[in-house]
Amino acid sequence: MISVKELVKESRLTGNYFAPDAYIQGDLESGLIENRGGGRLLALPESFLRAIYEGLQEEVGSAAEPVLYKCGTWWGKTFYRRFAEEVSKSLGRPMADIDMIEFLQCFKQCWKTHGWGNIELDFDFYQHGFIVAQITNSAFAKASPTIDKPKCFVEAGLLSSFFTGLTGQKLHCIQTTCESMGADSNYFVLGLPERVKRAEAWLQEKHDHATIMERLCQSQMDRYLNLE
């Protein structure tokens, strides 16, 4: 017997906490943009992002890539903590009681509302120990000055920290395709470092995302069967 009265009383019937018209709020008098939790937001112009890439390239050359990845991991660590608190507060439940699908749906909407593009998560390779993230309209890809290889190191770092926080396991993230190189979207693979870093060599050989995923999964199967 379903009691609608009890459902209304006990359940928080929330919609999209991160809906842009609700999440981003401003005080025009003081020139502030804030999220609905009162946290200050800052808009990053494209020229600023471009300057970060160019400045780092000028100062540290090829070391810019690990620097950007590290920035992403720092950002991702605090982002995960703040995000988890916000979701728990908005849904009125502790993290342990929140369905993973709800949590990830919040993550997608949060990503979109912050203007970082659209993110989709693919768990088809989960059995092999990999998660794939697909990002379209990435601000970082757009600001990237060169087109010779994937450039979204900040996002890769952020995703690695975020999913490390979520899974409780140290994960590494590698980008396999990039909008700056003409691809339709940016693909990222997440997994344990010793597994996912194998993709670096295949990336240098210019293999596409599908081939890299096939090889990563096969490599995992071979290890499982002890053929390597």
Partner: protein, 161 residues
């Protein structure tokens, strides 16, 4: 914000509203009174309108556990609430942003399609018997939009401008 009023506000950026615009303004204000009444009616009878639909749902799916059925009922409680607010503001985008962009993935994972379709039909019956035709005509577009986006096809939402 009420879409029609907002549009008129933007239209009057550098001039007074014309007679036609003022007529539209008046119609919108009058419509707002009807929308407020409808919103209050639905708000105050939320439980009494949805309980019979929930009872019929239990009869239609006797082998399904109550938690699963409750999940479907909660979805439509949310849709009705946000739909009512969208109706009040005459703003379909409000419903899109708050619920219809949010829910499709949840529905796919929980695989409640058949149950949700059944509950939608039961809900329509309850609402038709409770609301006046004028009130029904105000809320119906929002419920139909929700049904279309969530249950009929893959998302029909266009990206917002």
């Amino acid at each position: 914000m009420h879409t029609e009023l907002q549009n008129l506000l933007y239209a009057a950026d550098d001039h007074y509203l014309s007679d036609a615009d003022l007529d539209q303004f008046q119609k919108t204000v009058h419509s707002l009174e009807e929308r407020i009444e409808t919103y209050e009616y639905i708000r105050d009878r939320e439980i009494s309108m949805l309980q019979p639909a929930a009872d019929y749902l239990s009869e239609e799916f006797p082998g399904t556990d109550s938690k699963t059925l409750e999940r479907a009922v909660m979805h439509w409680l949310s849709i009705l609430r946000y739909g009512s607010m969208a109706m009040l503001c005459d703003n379909m985008e409000f419903l899109n942003h708050r619920i219809l962009e949010w829910m499709p993935d949840l529905l796919e994972v929980y695989q409640l399609r058949d149950i949700e379709i059944a509950f939608y039909r039961l809900l329509q019956v309850q609402l038709k018997s409770s609301l006046s035709p004028a009130q029904m005509s105000l809320i119906k577009p929002y419920l139909e939009e929700a049904y279309g986006v969530l249950l009929r096809t893959k998302s029909t939402l266009q990206p917002s401008a």
